[in-house]
Subunit: 249 residues, 2 copies
């Protein structure tokens, strides 16, 4: 089993630490306070000089820190991997570069089952890919070889799938609150929306006034929306649904 | 147990028929071909003269047909209820008016567990409400008293929660396809998005570049989007997320 030094002490680092506990031989971090939370279970350091030898150095820092932090680890003999969806592999300054990207939204303190989280891997040579793959297979059933271009698109698609859908749910909640209706009433509908796309392509699962071009209902909905931004979103998404279905015909 | 005559033979009628099989004593429909599918399990008719006496006449027809069809049933002694989210109770022409609105997206041929589907009820008098409530309680654990104004907002919120989120997932799928990435990789993320809002208010569950005001990432995402409509949606939803979080601060 590959040995791992985890670099970083934030939210993603915490989740990776829980998943890779048996492989991690050291946690490196600048913030000594944050480091203390790891020190019960493994060795920790905030000094580059105390870094131990490992098969893999796993960089769990924010996207804009990757380039800078990776420079400090450019001398390591092991493989250096970042964990970001949007950063190209080329931003790493080590000789042996890799990416170990778990495609999930991580919430502080919320335990996740890693076995169902897709892990997207990239490495610049075959043996290094083997190390990543062994590690990923030990924690997840969904391991994929994904290059930098694909990962960029995946990350962009994830913004729609998570950030934007979540915001749409927030708007739905605000609309309910205007008439003192409990948002919980919509939860079975939201769950069924997801269940449907397990079996159907979203374009075939689409229903509603925009798909039917039911102008009367859409007009009534627009009048019912109080926030001008919500009106614009309603119009834009309805237009986009219409366009998709006209193209499909 | 209240007896029911079901009016309509479409998608929603089929789902209600399965749920209320033990109460339904007759199905009424214009389309004799469609009616035949019900005739194995109950009595059917397409003639108003053959209508039997029942506690409740349940109108499962399209929104724009409710007013017209309800006129044909204005003489019935039982309670007349429509099943629509967006139509006011006042559009019914019977003396005893009601609404029995199951808040769910119904797909033809896809069996649903009614016990978790919220049923929104409205009636113009107390005894009639009692009949609706008895019927609703017999099939669902989530029964709510919802007036016409609340139901209108709920229906509008449901367009966001279902139609718009589904369209957002379709866009995510199209983005994946541009780089031959399997949309299935996003499904654990989508499921976790929903799981999170079981415990957190969506505004507190929000993450991503728009929330962080990470202009560099948003710029890179906009460049990665090929469809001008997707660019506009990205900009509009990002702006709306920013606005929500600035107001929250």
């Amino acid at each position: 089993m590959p040995t791992v030094v985890l670099i970083g002490t934030g939210n993603v680092a915490h989740h990776l630490f829980r998943a890779l506990k048996e492989n991690i031989i050291q946690v490196f971090g600048r913030n000594e306070q944050a480091l203390r939370e790891f020190s019960e279970s493994t060795s920790t350091t905030s000094s580059i000089d105390e870094l131990v030898a490992a098969d893999l150095y796993l960089l769990a820092v924010s996207d804009d820190a990757i380039k800078e932090v990776s420079r400090q680890f450019s001398h390591v003999k092991g493989l250096l991997a970042h964990t970001s969806g949007s950063v190209p592999i080329s931003q790493l300054s080590s000789e042996r570069k890799a990416v170990f990207y778990p495609l999930q939204t991580f919430t502080f303190g919320r335990d996740l089952n890693f076995s169902t989280i897709p892990i997207c891997l990239e490495a610049t040579n075959k043996e290094d890919y083997g190390i990543l793959e062994e590690l990923a297979n030990s924690i997840s059933k969904s391991v994929y070889r994904i290059n930098t271009e694909q990962r960029k698109k995946l990350h962009l698609a994830a913004v729609f799938a998570n950030n934007f859908s979540n915001h749409i749910f927030q708007i739905a909640m605000e609309i309910c609150e205007q008439e003192n209706v409990d948002f919980d009433l919509l939860k079975p509908l939201i769950i069924e929306t997801i269940n449907k796309i397990e079996h159907l392509n979203p374009i075939d699962a689409q229903t509603g006034p925009a798909k039917r071009n039911d102008i009367q209902t859409m007009q009534a909905h627009l009048e019912g929306l109080q926030d001008p931004m919500h009106k614009k979103i309603y119009q834009m998404l309805s237009k986009s649904i219409r366009k998709s279905h006209e193209e499909k015909l």
